[in-house]
């Protein structure tokens, strides 16, 4: 593993400091949350959607202030919401780079060269698993099966899957990602919140147009 100045280990988390109150949820975010909470008989059930909204509103990661604001919006305790946020791997309780490279190294990808790709990325980007490049562009992670094994090796980046990756084509993709301006760390959460809203495919809702969710690359499509 190569070394890096930024070490945001995924497994070791500092105990959260008492959150400094912040209110970053926009009026639109509150309206979205109320709409989505109405899908369930209890407001508490909107905890996962609310965390997606928070992850978007807080620019891609759930700070303790974000968790506190989510808890307030749902009428839950901080501990309850933090417990949920830390259970699921896709909530970013630590900040990540603009592009979160999640390379699947599970079985079918592993036998199709996934580790070669991980090593290539480590080498080329100069970071290890769980680390972020100093310019904040890329965070590298290993993912468990992303369940698109037929197009192994798969990598998830934000709200997109890329398939059929090899050590030959991976760096071309990295260059494309570096050049793409539309990506932000909040993009994944933004897309998901959009999906949760009825009618969004017709109105375009949220801040993304339907067209911005293209189909993934891959041989089976």
């Amino acid at each position: 593993m190569s070394t890096s100045t930024s070490s945001n280990s995924e497994s070791l988390r500092e105990p959260a400091p008492a959150p400094v109150p912040e209110t970053r949820f926009s009026a639109q975010a509150h309206a979205e949350l109320d709409e989505i909470a109405g899908h369930y008989p209890e407001r508490k059930a909107a905890c996962l959607p609310a965390l997606w909204i928070a992850q978007r509103e807080y620019g891609g990661s759930l700070t303790s202030a974000a968790i506190q604001e989510t808890a307030n919006a749902l009428g839950l305790s901080y501990a309850e919401v933090e417990g949920v946020a830390t259970f699921y791997t896709m909530y970013n309780t630590v900040p990540r780079g603009r592009h979160h490279l999640e390379v699947c190294t599970c079985l079918s990808c592993a036998v199709n060269g996934a580790y070669d790709i991980v090593h290539k990325l480590e080498h080329e980007l100069g970071i290890g698993i769980g680390e972020t490049t100093p310019d904040g562009e890329f965070t590298l992670s290993e993912a468990e099966c992303l369940d698109f094994c037929g197009a192994a090796t798969i990598m998830q980046v934000g709200d997109k899957y890329f398939g059929n990756l090899t050590t030959e084509n991976i760096m071309g993709l990295i260059d494309e990602l570096r050049a793409s301006e539309s990506y932000t760390p909040a993009k994944l959460a933004d897309s998901i919140v959009k999906i949760l809203q009825p009618g969004s495919s017709i109105t375009g809702g949220g801040s993304y147009t339907p067209e911005s969710l293209e189909l993934p690359a891959g041989p089976m499509l």
Binding site: N112, G113, K160, L213
Partner: protein
């Protein structure tokens, strides 16, 4: 070769994600037909079809549908398990991407049959693209009057369908953990029958709840539209209809293949273009949770529940992984155990501790630190997980290891004795030193 595209009949029709095209190809015919039938008659059709759950366990679908109270007195919920997380499986992904209207149709029919007014599709958080297609299908179905109030003019038949996105957790595919997650909690499972009522009696929010897999709902819709007799005439005595098999690994044409139940396993490998990068070594037919089968024992296996079960493995979710003879089975099991250790929800001790033990031991063996007695130790840990865990994840972590030791014990012994991969030493050009034990014969893949 029995490729039979029932659910996938329209998967390559251009524009099938749009409701007008979908309707022109017969999707939603099932809903139109269902609402002219008595609700019990819909359930009886599912019963007559012999459909069994496609999420992995193969439970008879009609028994669940029949288990909800037959009135609108209290709320009922219909849930679709679209958390597809089993390594090797990607059928639900393609169904949602291309046949989202088929899924929506199946769920509306289930809502009608079970007196439910609300449905949720629980989609894993990573599946943004498939979820987007489902969103489109739902929005269009509302506009066309298949969702909402008094559907198709049937007085009192209301059904709303919502999407719930997961956030990264394999365990949330386990149905009771899924219910926890849907209710806004951590994805820990709940007590199950017989220690607690069945979900059909007391599921989410203590209300009667139906949970089925994506493929199960799609098949149910097909059955209502096309008649149970046309489904039941396919397959074997106890496995009716078709099953979508996701083929991956060392195979020339990886893809989802919808096959008639009972299709010989080896035929599927041929259909998928054969093994690449070497000869066939083993197949995991039903996702990482089932037992691996060595090549010489594949001959008698057919792709149905009975035949897989009788041959020491399971059809599971249809995650069909093919491995060539350059694959190191011990490394494969190390990676498998890593998956379960990572995904264990931590609620019960046998699984939380046991899965980590399995990984640690296998990691040690494949790092050259194997000791005499390690195989017995692995089996011992497995036997302390299997049957003693709170939910199926623990069992699923133990089965593949036990299966691999049964089928490939000499490879484990070789690693322990010589501290290196038996694969490099036998069939391959000699590679005496294992440079990086993580490298699972990657170079061999594209032969």
């Amino acid at each position: 070769m029995a490729i039979l595209n029932l659910l996938f009949a329209t998967r390559n029709v251009p524009g099938i994600e749009n409701i007008d095209v979908a309707e022109a190809h017969g999707i939603y015919k099932g809903v139109r037909k269902a609402v002219t039938m008595e609700r019990q008659a819909v359930i009886d059709e599912i019963k007559a079809s012999g459909l069994r759950g496609r999420g992995g366990a193969g439970f008879p679908t009609w028994i669940k549908w029949n288990g909800l109270p037959k009135n609108y007195t209290a709320p009922h919920y219909v849930i679709c398990n679209a958390d597809e997380g089993e390594p090797g499986t990607y059928k639900d992904r393609e169904l949602m991407l291309k046949q989202a209207h088929t899924l929506v149709e199946g769920m509306i029919i289930a809502g009608y049959a079970t007196y439910s007014k609300v449905g949720y599709i629980y989609i894993r958080g990573e599946y943004v693209e498939p979820a987007w297609q489902v969103r489109k299908a739902i929005d269009q179905a509302y506009k066309a009057g298949y969702l909402g109030k008094n559907i198709l003019g049937v007085d009192g038949f209301d059904f709303d369908l919502h999407i719930h996105m997961g956030a990264g957790s394999y365990e949330c595919g386990e149905e009771s953990a899924l219910m926890s997650s849907l209710m806004g909690e951590r994805g820990n499972p709940r007590l199950k029958f017989p220690h607690a009522p069945l979900p059909t009696v007391e599921g989410v929010w203590k209300s009667p709840t139906l949970i089925n897999n994506v493929e199960t709902y799609c098949a149910a819709g097909w059955i209502i539209a096309n008649g149970s007799e046309n489904y039941a005439k396919l397959g074997t005595e106890r496995s009716k209809g078709t099953k979508i098999i996701s083929v991956s690994g060392h195979i020339r044409r990886p893809a989802n293949y919808e096959v008639e139940m009972g299709t010989p396993l080896l035929d599927l490998i041929t259909e998928a273009g054969g093994v690449i990068g070497g000869g066939l070594k083993a197949v995991v037919p039903g996702g990482s949770s089932v037992q691996i089968v060595p090549a010489d024992r594949l001959g008698p296996i057919n792709l149905d529940y009975e035949s897989c079960g009788a041959n020491g493995t399971l059809l599971g979710s249809g995650g069909f992984m093919v491995f060539n003879d350059r694959t190191d089975i011990v490394l494969l099991m190390k990676r498998t155990s890593e998956f379960y250790a990572h995904e264990s929800c931590g609620k019960c001790t046998p699984c939380r501790e046991g899965t980590r033990w399995l990984f640690k031991i296998l990691d040690r063996i494949t790092s050259g630190g194997g000791r005499d007695g390690d195989i017995e130790l692995l089996l011992n840990v497995c036997s302390n997980i299997d049957g003693r865990s709170y939910c199926g994840l623990g069992d699923a972590a133990a089965w593949p290891i036990v299966g691999a030791i049964k089928a490939f014990r000499p490879e484990f012994e070789y690693w322990i004795k010589y501290k290196k991969s038996p694969v490099g030493a036998s069939a391959l050009p000699p590679s005496p030193e294992v440079v990086n034990p993580l490298l699972l014969q990657a170079a061999a893949a594209h032969g």
